[in-house]
């Protein structure tokens, strides 16, 4: 994995809502077997000011880059528990 280093000043902390939305998108893609371009989700790596959470986000992106969908989905569930938000990867509604 190459390092996408960004200057500190550009890094932004995401709101809980934004994190929730991003995780929701990722969970759906993982369930459906869609290829995830991790470069498009860089913002999530630095998405939290909480160090512990930031590490979990990094771990998640690593799992996604390794196409380890099951582990990534588990990580999303853990984040969900930590953030106390609800992600519904199981609800594969209309993909059309």
């Amino acid at each position: 994995m190459e390092q996408h280093k960004k200057p500190e000043s550009v890094q932004q902390v995401l709101t809980k809502e934004q994190i929730h939305d991003l995780l929701q998108v990722l969970a759906e893609k993982l369930q459906q077997g869609d290829y995830i371009d991790t470069a498009e989700f860089e913002s999530i790596k630095t998405g939290s000011s909480d160090n512990g959470l930031q590490n979990v986000f990094k771990q998640l992106m690593e799992q996604i880059a390794q196409f380890d969908s099951n582990a990534a989905l588990k990580t999303i569930q853990n984040i969900e528990a930590q953030l106390n938000v609800t992600i519904n990867p199981g609800q594969k509604e209309d993909i059309k």
Partner: protein, 293 residues
């Protein structure tokens, strides 16, 4: 709705998947499986892949076995498979092609070769899909054609008989269609046909077979549908068509509705009985639904 063709990449080595995905992601919707079982799972889900890039050496089910499974299943057997593999012996390639793969690419992966071959096979696949659609659909209305009705009806009727499920059949005909064509011209006649077809399509369930049977005649084969439900449906079509007024003209239809004999019944017989009921509807003054004997 996915506009881009879908490519499923199956490889147990993440680096290989990344290389393939990187050279294809701009033009294709990419799906990924890192083992054979997941591949079969994704193939069964929508959207169905238009092409599969399949590694051979994988833990568990190998690529050959995956390919065999895909080719055995009528739903997946037409999805082109390209093996992408480190196995570069002649007999490996021969085996792969004998199993039904359309192409065989050896590793190390050269992106430009992969892209060129994928583009070729995707083009062929989409042309094949188009031809299939043309062979089974009516060009003017987009509904199924008569040919497809007969193919699917035999399967549906056999299945319904096995599971003791009701099948109903509606035959309908646009009233005084010749008058419309003669007085307003064929382009207006075509619009009327299309409007009627759209109403039929919109009111149909995905499992229904709605077909243009002849000039201004349409049929709908409804499985899991009782005679009463079919009658209700036909009445709904009748009302919607009457209310539609394509090109400001009042257009009505007459309907014959029958239910398959629970002991089983050939499609020809269903058509004959529905046609008689339809004839009765015309005799009774048109714009109505008649249940057949």
């Amino acid at each position: 709705m996915n506009e881009k063709p879908v490519i499923l990449i199956v490889d147990d080595v993440p680096t290989n998947v990344q290389i393939l995905a990187n050279c294809l992601k701009d033009n294709y919707h990419i799906k990924v499986a890192t083992d054979g079982l997941r591949c079969l799972e994704l193939v069964a889900a929508t959207p169905t892949p238009d092409l599969i890039l399949l590694d051979i050496e994988m833990p568990g089910m190998d690529g050959y076995e995956v390919c065999q499974q895909l080719k055995k299943n009528p739903v997946t057997q037409n999805i082109p498979v390209i093996f992408v593999t480190a196995n570069d012996q002649e007999e490996d390639e021969e085996k792969g092609l004998q199993l039904g793969a359309v192409d065989y690419i050896t590793k190390p992966i050269r992106p430009s070769i992969v892209v060129a071959r994928v583009n070729t096979h995707i083009t062929l696949k989409l042309q094949h899909d188009k031809l299939t659609a043309m062979a089974t659909h009516d060009q003017l209305t987009g509904l199924y054609n008569r040919h497809y009705l007969f193919i699917s009806a035999n399967k549906k009727i056999a299945k319904a008989k096995r599971h003791h499920e009701p099948v109903s059949f509606i035959m309908m005909d646009i009233d005084h269609f010749k008058h419309i064509n003669d007085n307003y011209g064929h382009p207006v006649g075509d619009i009327v046909l299309q409007k009627v077809a759209t109403i039929i399509e919109q009111q149909s369930r995905s499992e229904d077979v709605a077909a243009r049977f002849g000039g201004e005649e349409f049929v709908i084969l409804l499985d899991h549908c009782s005679l009463m439900d079919a009658q209700f449906k036909a009445e709904k079509y009748r009302q919607l068509i009457e209310a539609e007024r394509p090109e400001q003209h009042v257009v009505t239809c007459s309907f014959g509705v029958v239910q398959m004999n629970p002991e089983g019944e050939a499609i020809d017989s269903l058509i004959k009985r529905a046609d008689l009921a339809l004839y009765q509807a015309k005799e009774n003054g048109r714009n109505q639904v008649v249940i057949g004997e």
